[in-house]
Amino acid sequence: MGAQLRVYRRRIRSTKSMAKITRAMELIATTRITKAQRAAEAAGPYAREITRAVSAVAQRVSEHPLLTEAENPVRAAILVITSDKGQAGAYTANAVKEAESLAALLREQGKEVLLYVVGRKGVGYFRFRDRAMEQTWEGITERPSYADAKAIGEALMGRFAQDSATEGGVDEIHIVATEFVSMLTQRAESHRALPLEVEEVDKAELEKEQGGPLPLYDFEPSAEEALDQLLPQYVTNRIYFALLESAASQWASRRNAMKAATDNAEELVKTLTRQANQARQAEITNEISEIVGGADALAAASAGSE
């Protein structure tokens, strides 16, 4: 067998085994998307209820440290949610890009930017570029739990509670997460988590749902204390939701990347098989012409000697 043909065959074999791996990863990602989506759905009732409760209290009390904007913001924190593992297409790259443009914008406004990073890939990105990170979390992006969200929330809210002038606290907290638009589209988006803008449940919709105007709640023990407990829970819930959505996006993005990789590998196998066939044909043709040439030469030699 010719050397060229052997090389082709080897490449076909390795490409085929690579396609098998990427196909398996694609299948795993597909099942994980459904799981991640189900987790996000299961978290829905709590998110809805807490939003409703916070809107109800916020109508009554509007004074709270988590709601007040600083007059002269000097420092802002960005929480970036990336992935722990690669092979997820542009998932991490997009989140990081969004975070970078947000950071540039904040710096333009004269604020110092602090980074909080979730996910090994994001940590690696910033570490490689020698960028200081305040705090990092790794190994939680694939299946985020509420406890993880709580730990992140406590770190961020603790920083927020500090005074920005004397203790180095932050005045704003932004979250960069990847929104799950559809199976094929995921978009990295940033939004401000603190100071809080309560996303109010649509009033008309609520009223329709409850069959009457919004009730005027009584608060036990008081509206202020209720807000004190509700707001941190609300913020934690927002973070939890961002983590869940990012997890779903991450798997969707990984599935797309792996599907593309499998398709490419199969295409490559097709091309390589054609080239290998051509090489084999060329080899056979070459052998035939050598034999014919040899026979001719022999015939010519014996004719000449007679």
Binding site: A43, Y46, A56, Y146, P215, Y217, L230, N237
Partner: protein, 137 residues
């Protein structure tokens, strides 16, 4: 608005909905003390005491639904809709009594100082789990 005879109760934790169904009365320990909610109650939003036990009387054919809830609140709306939200919540039948007991004795053996919020919360959580499971504490 006509007052219906049953309460619609939802018990949710951040990760999932634990239980939803109808009941005759909800009894919960709030920061201010025990509070009972029957159909037709005024809208109220009450913070639950740390390590509270929430009971839904008549939630099942024979008896009540008990939940150990920690760090949450109860909201009553529309006279017959009760939602209980807790950062950690466990149904009585899902509670591992042995584990809760060990957790409690560990927390108590660790000599909790009054300003150790984490230790106190852990003890309160364990206690409420045991209470919800119907054990004596």
């Amino acid at each position: 608005m006509a007052v219906s005879k049953k309460l619609f109760v939802e018990i949710v934790s951040p990760e999932r909905e634990l239980w939803a169904g109808e009941g005759d009365m909800v009894i919960a320990k709030t920061i201010d003390g025990e509070m009972g909610v029957q159909p037709g109650h005024v809208p109220v939003l009450a913070l639950l005491a740390p390590g509270a036990v929430v009971r839904v009387v008549g939630g099942r054919e024979n008896g009540e639904v008990r939940v150990a809830a920690h760090g949450g609140f109860m909201s009553v709306a529309g006279g017959d809709r009760v939602s209980i939200l807790a950062e950690t919540a466990e149904l009585a039948e899902d509670i591992d009594v042995e584990r809760a007991r060990t957790a409690l004795s560990e927390a108590e053996a660790g000599q909790i100082s009054p300003d150790d919020a984490e230790g106190l919360a852990r003890a309160a959580r364990a206690r409420s789990r045991l209470q919800a499971a119907g054990e004596k504490v």
